[in-house]
């Protein structure tokens, strides 16, 4: 349809990324993965046993088919996030990291200060950094200046399924970004994902809206189609919304 999604030195055909944390089983997760067409899946490092990387969640994923993006979920400050990312790299998992610093277990709202601090260190250390952030346009620019490969602003609190609750600031982030913008967290329905893509997001990440649904596989496919539709609409340059009829050449009568 259009060019691939480019993040760092990688290219992806799919603009739909999936989370792994909330599925009922690895089998359900893998069926959803197939239905979603996602090429990137994020895995919480806290779920990975460094002594037995072949057991648990990593054993269920085929790195030949899917790009595994480790995340620092559970880190409460920059130091923990940096050390967690380094642990993943040391075990040969990846030098990519979805940077999550969430000191508040209730809403898991990302800590902007600590995220920026960690991002600066990790970029220096050679990581490809994709930070999870609140919908804050200034923070997004600072992170881009720091050298992150993308920014991942939330649409609404994680797990809330509330859709894009801060459309204006998300729009500002997209408008100003020189790096890919991936809308992460809070997208609750395929129409939310389509809207994010229509707004010009480069990709979306979904977890709860699929895993907590009655039929996760169906939802995974629905999101795949919605992301495609939204992207297509964005590329097509949608006609403007409005109630009033518009004359096609309202100034034709003027003397040229």
């Amino acid at each position: 349809m259009d060019g691939n999604l480019k993040i760092g030195d990688k290219e992806f055909k799919s603009r739909f990324m999936m989370g792994t944390g909330k599925f009922s089983s690895d089998e359900v997760m893998n069926r959803c993965l197939a239905a979603s067409g996602a090429e990137v899946i994020t895995v919480a490092l806290r779920r990975v046993d460094i002594n037995r990387p072949d057991a648990g969640i990593l054993a269920a994923l085929d790195p030949g088919k899917i790009f595994i993006l480790p995340n620092t979920s559970g880190a409460q400050n920059a130091d923990e996030a940096v050390r967690t990312a380094n642990l993943a790299r040391a075990m040969g998992l990846s030098n990519w990291v979805k940077l999550e610093v969430t000191p508040d277990p209730k809403y898991l709202w990302p800590d902007g200060d600590e995220t920026l601090k960690a991002a600066r260190i990790l970029v220096q250390e050679g990581f490809v950094v994709l930070p999870y952030i609140g919908p804050d346009p200034v923070l997004a620019r600072k992170l881009e200046d720091a050298g992150t490969a993308a920014v991942m602003p939330l649409a609404a609190p994680i797990g809330s399924n509330k859709g894009i609750r801060s459309a204006d600031t998300i729009r500002m982030i997209i408008e100003q970004a020189g790096i890919p913008v991936v809308i992460d967290a809070g997208l609750g329905s395929p129409s939310d994902a389509a809207l994010a893509m229509e707004m010009g997001a480069d990709a979306v990440m979904i977890n709860t809206a699929i895993s907590a649904s009655a039929d996760p596989e169906k939802l995974a496919e629905a999101f795949r189609l919605a992301v495609l539709a939204g992207r297509l609409a964005y590329l097509g340059g949608m006609a403007q919304k409005g109630d009033a009829a518009k004359a096609s050449s309202p100034t034709e009568w003027l003397v040229k």
């Binding site: 909330k22 089983s25 779920r47 990975v48 648990g56 409460q76 000191p103 907590a212």
Partner: protein, 374 residues
């Protein structure tokens, strides 16, 4: 500290609210997106007993949204059953003539290894209150030892001061559980006759001290049956809400251990029925959406299996409540704190969780996470 809040709680109106028969209040509370404390109280009341299905559905949905279809797996390890307290309901009561054991270092290693083999990564270390035998230094050493094999090491131990808790956090402890047993002061004094545990306020403020010391996870609860369960559950909710508000970086979880009919020993003030127990679990879940809810093997297989998809977030399995019970000692050589009701092994419980369409999660912590002090 929570003691100040406790003094401010209007116990007369709390007591009235949890006895309400007003259906309108209870059904209004079930439907609210964000429940206030008064809504929580009305869900504990008899009026809400007829709304269990609605409460269950909301409890399931809220829990799935926040925690996913996951059950965190943990296992208890008793370091010692020696105790200087005289808690009239407890198997470890110093007056009870039981075989007392305190694990030696070698025995501890043996037990840790046996548990690790079952696949656990989250362990709960417990001990009776016998500071001369199992003091702070000993517990700290046990934590360090356990951290070599487990990334999550939680403690259920007698209350310490903040510096003591800090030392345990610095040794690698991640969580602390301390049950108030009952929030009714008079009952508390009656059932905790002597020993350090007789100090109500010292225990009530232990979760504050633990949070100040940097524990990432704090568990609280009441031993249901000591006093009016509705009033105790109301206090547990108030206490958990206070902790979550004040120590916003700390994960708070709640347990609902209940006493059973026990012919020869202590007679509980009330026996909480299954229906009543689930009512208070749902009420808590609706009130505090992000609080963890733990369900131990104190409950039966049937009850536990039915609760997997209704709000519970963590479960133990294959538990032994006697020191050395996994590898070293038989039940007669060292006695347990309470009778295990669900005696299935870990594999069987895992199968039951999967059978419910849930994922048992053994590893859910990173060795790179340390204590977080406010």
């Amino acid at each position: 500290m929570f003691y100040d809040e406790y003094l401010k709680l209007d116990r007369a109106s709390m007591g009235k609210a949890v006895l309400s028969e007003e259906l309108a209040k209870a059904s209004g509370a079930v439907a609210r997106e964000d429940l206030r404390f008064e809504d929580f109280l009305s869900l504990l009341a008899p009026a809400a007993a007829g709304l269990l299905d609605q409460m269950a559905l909301r409890s399931r949905a809220i829990t799935q949204k926040h925690f996913g279809k996951n059950i965190g797996m943990y296992i208890p390890l008793y370091l010692s059953n020696e105790c200087t307290n005289e808690c009239v309901y407890c198997g470890f009561n110093r007056n009870n003539d039981i075989n007392r054991r305190t694990l030696t270092e070698h025995e501890l290693d043996q037990e840790l290894a046996a548990i690790k083999q079952q696949g656990y990564d989250s362990i709960l270390l417990l001990t009776g209150e016998a500071p001369a035998r199992v003091g702070l230094g000993t517990i700290a050493r046990c934590v360090t030892r356990a951290r070599e094999l487990f990334t999550q090491v939680s403690l259920e131990i007698y209350p310490m001061d903040t510096d003591g808790y800090k030392r345990l956090v610095d040794s690698g402890a991640t969580g602390l559980t301390v049950y108030q047993e009952t929030y009714n002061r008079e009952t508390y004094s009656r059932v905790h006759r002597s020993g350090r545990k007789a100090h109500f306020q010292w225990r009530l403020e232990a979760p504050d001290r633990a949070a100040l010391a940097g524990f990432r996870k704090i568990g609280i609860g009441a031993l249901l049956g000591l006093s009016d369960w509705r009033v105790d559950a109301a206090h547990v909710g108030a206490h958990a809400a206070y902790l979550m508000r004040k120590y916003w970086r700390t994960e708070v979880s709640v347990s609902f251990p209940r006493m059973r009919e026990c012919p020869s020993t202590f007679k509980p003030a009330c026996i909480v029925t299954d229906r009543e127990l689930v009512q208070m679990m749902f009420a808590l879940r609706l009130y505090l959406k992000s609080a963890g809810i733990a369900l131990s093997t104190r409950e039966s297989q049937g009850f536990r299996d039915n609760m997997i998809d209704l709000g519970v977030t963590s479960m133990s399995a294959g538990s032994k409540t006697n020191p050395g019970g996994y590898e070293t000692y038989s039940k007669s050589e060292s006695q347990g704190q309470f009778e295990i009701c669900d005696d299935r092994n870990t594999e069987q419980v895992v199968a039951a969780i999967r059978g419910k369409g849930y994922c048992p999660v053994f590893k859910d912590w990173s060795a790179t996470f340390g204590g977080v002090r406010p």
